[in-house]
Symmetry: C2
Subunit: 472 residues, 2 copies
């Protein structure tokens, strides 16, 4: 019961019917101004109010001197005023019976004794009023489906809806990382939650919500500290049984931990312990943003494999060697192909060539052409009974014929075994091909090493969560 | 003396005065045709001949029935005919006193007993004629300065001249990897040598040549096997004393070694031994192509550091935490800034903010603006006496003001300490900024982790080669 209540409270942060921006402003560089314009730009369909005592209207939105003055009240208040005013605004929230508050402002527990006191006072008022808080020191929420955001970094361009959620303890994730994903990646986003200093709502609350959220198929978290490690592991275990969870932990080293303390006031525990516990809970740990995104897209898109045996086909013998090394180093195994597969492949090769595995498609293209060579290679590894995981390596020349995608599509859309495609070569052609492939939910990578690691993440997820289930 | 003779022989492969393409063809998909068109496209200024008994002219180039029939002889013959014809062509090379031969064709020691015999016969003839061979089974040479190439993958667009050489035991490097570098990277290339099966000329010969070559500042090698490990280590030790050498070894795992055997007929030794010996020789080992390129550009562009202490400035506290972890995990140390630096930084911050290191520029931008915040951050870490290595993390929003580069340029061009810039955010703006920075020879990376690893490679190179010198 309590859990469901909490999920409803959290849901309101992502999908409010009415919003007030405290500190809304006409000055375009003020956070309160950017937030308002972001909401207008996304086309937020709910009721929108400004709280600013100096005016009755900002950018076409009605402004009130306080939250209490808004006759119908609001679902959520976004606070974007200097830290020292926040305790007072929180009192206004309590009086107006606002139940969800997002504090953008920084200058609390990351800012010395005065900041800590300021936060304590704010939290006391909030608790008395039954108010849930996200922040302080954060960009907050983005929900493309609800056309709702609290972020103060200017949003431009379309934000694709999709299966990947992210939670972060830094404004970056609703800022530059979001820009990175929107402009460089092709997967879509379900929800973004920037939690800042996690004075109340934390990763656990958001994960509970995302567990129920039907739009989310995979979650990534950038985390510096945890309020309640035990509760997090409990929720993570439940979450990872049905949805993969990728975590980038900041503060793995003592230098990182020190930086985390001054960034979000977080105490990072000893990483070796965190690592062991997180892995037991089925969490996939990564070491940087690129790896996080690499893993998230394959976890969102592809089925889990039944085993670790990888089939590889490439247009270059060198890529085949590199793929064999990468696959092995990532914890997978280069498959022993069934003799039927090898014999069939050999029968198609020119006389001088000897069939091996990884399949070297270069000799084959001399007899059947480039596109057909890729099709045959992919078909062999997809159908081979000794292969659990497929890695196709495409060598992209400037004269690439994009119709290759239509030729491969029927095979790629089977979705019986997980497939990743390494797309290596001329930039523009690689990007075109990657876009087409990822529109079909086939993850692509610029090197065999990154493709192999990502396939291995899928395998390790399957392993960790199966073993988790069998223990129950 | 013998060494100098050998270097002259190798030099002729890269800078021949006259070339014959054996197997030149009018059919546009034939290797012999692509090679000819590539040479014409690059504007090769030497004398160019075709060898094809069926015609007297191909694409405007005079064709002869054999090498022997070319009255003035040639510096180099490029052989692009089926494998079974190669022994016969080699006899023609010997008769015509051609001293440099590049064999494109595959179907030799990677292709069973018949292939091995074919190669033996070819080599015997070559030895008798005092002929040096690159290949078989390769794309061979690219020398942008001499406008010379033997590659059979169609070259398009300008190939930037620059300080990075690469040697590879796979056609990929003169093919898709070259396309990748030309279209995605901004550094230039001095020489490319694809060595294929290394039946004669090997990495050692090329390294001897590159050691003397003034255009080359750093070399990267993709290597599956070595003909003479002892000689390679000897040359590598000499080479790394003045120029960095980055090696990607194929066949690190048993699966990779097996694939290498069928790719180039190479026997890969046990990697742990190779790894130890290579590191002792000052070689920087990498695990994939991306890392190879990441490292090569910083090694080519930036001065080596005097120590391992890294100064970090970023526009996001989260990036500062991630950078601290990455720097430490890469084997560097987050510097303790001098108190003068910290006090100066603190004096510029708004009252609520507490100065730490990594420098968090976010509060600073609130008082001095974004560009000036970056400039101050970079200046502090560049000037701090406790900092050996500088990592600047830039958060790139769509509204990025590119004049930031002009503001940072005077600092970046000092070149007293190595600098890397992580450029994270909106794609097009990141690319524009990266281009501007790399034109100034400041290497850029899409994540702090890759920047930190690359800075660490520079440090490890300095360490390995200094200790190498002190032993002499």
């Amino acid at each position: 019961m309590e859990e469901n209540l909490s999920i409803e409270e959290i849901k309101r942060f992502f999908d409010p019917q009415s919003v007030a921006i405290v500190g809304a402003s006409r000055k375009s560089d003020k956070f309160g101004s950017v937030i308002l314009r972001n909401l207008q730009g996304l086309g937020y369909p709910g009721r929108l109010f400004a709280v600013n005592p100096h005016t009755s209207e900002i950018l076409g939105v009605r402004s009130f001197p306080s939250l209490e003055a808004i006759p119908e009240g609001v679902d959520i208040a976004i606070i974007a005023v200097p830290a020292f005013v926040v305790p007072e605004v929180m009192a206004d929230c309590a009086r107006s019976r606002t139940k969800n508050v997002l504090i953008i402002s920084s200058g609390f527990n990351e800012a010395g004794e005065a900041g800590r006191k300021r936060l304590e006072e704010t939290l006391k008022t909030a608790r008395r009023g039954g108010i849930r808080i996200i922040g302080p020191n954060t960009t907050g929420i983005l929900n493309p489906k609800a056309k709702f955001t609290t972020t103060f970094t200017p949003l431009t361009g379309e934000i694709r809806e999709g299966p990947v959620a992210f939670i972060a303890q830094t404004g970056m994730f609703a800022g530059v990382v979001l820009y990175y994903i929107i402009t460089s990646e092709r997967f879509g986003i379900s929800r973004v939650a920037g939690l800042g200093n996690k004075s109340d709502v934390d990763d656990c609350d958001i994960l509970e919500y995302l567990y129920e959220d039907e739009d989310t198929r995979v979650a990534m978290i950038y985390m510096e500290g945890l309020n309640d490690g035990r509760r997090f592991l409990q929720i993570a275990r439940k979450f990872t049984r049905t949805k993969p969870l990728v975590v980038l932990k900041g503060g793995r080293t003592s230098a990182g931990a020190k930086a985390a303390l001054s960034h979000t006031g977080s105490l990072a525990g000893q990483y070796s312990i965190t690592e062991a516990l997180f892995k037991q809970a089925g969490i996939i740990l990564v070491h940087d943003l690129e790896e996080m995104i690499d893993f998230a897209k394959i976890l969102a898109y592809q089925p889990v494999p039944r085993g670790a045996r990888a089939g590889v086909a490439s247009m270059s013998g060198g890529e085949g060697v590199m793929a064999s090394d990468s696959v092995t180093e990532a914890g997978l195994v280069v498959a022993n192909l069934a003799s039927e597969s090898s014999n069939y492949f050999q029968s198609l090769l020119p006389q001088w060539a000897v069939a091996g595995h990884p399949l070297d498609l270069e000799p084959l293209q001399e007899t059947v052409g480039r596109s057909e060579a890729y099709r045959i290679g992919l078909e062999i590894i997809l159908n081979d009974p000794n292969v659990d995981i497929c890695l196709l390596v495409m060598s992209i020349v400037p004269a690439m014929d994009e119709s290759i995608i239509d030729i491969l599509a029927p095979l790629l859309l089977k979705r019986v075994k997980p497939v990743a495609v390494a797309v290596v070569g001329a930039k523009q052609q690689c990007e075109n091909l990657a876009t087409r492939l990822e529109e079909m939910e086939i993850p692509t990578y610029p090197t065999v090493a990154r493709a192999a690691k990502s396939l291995a993440a899928l395998y390790h997820y399957a392993q960790a969560t199966n073993s988790g289930e069998s223990k129950c």
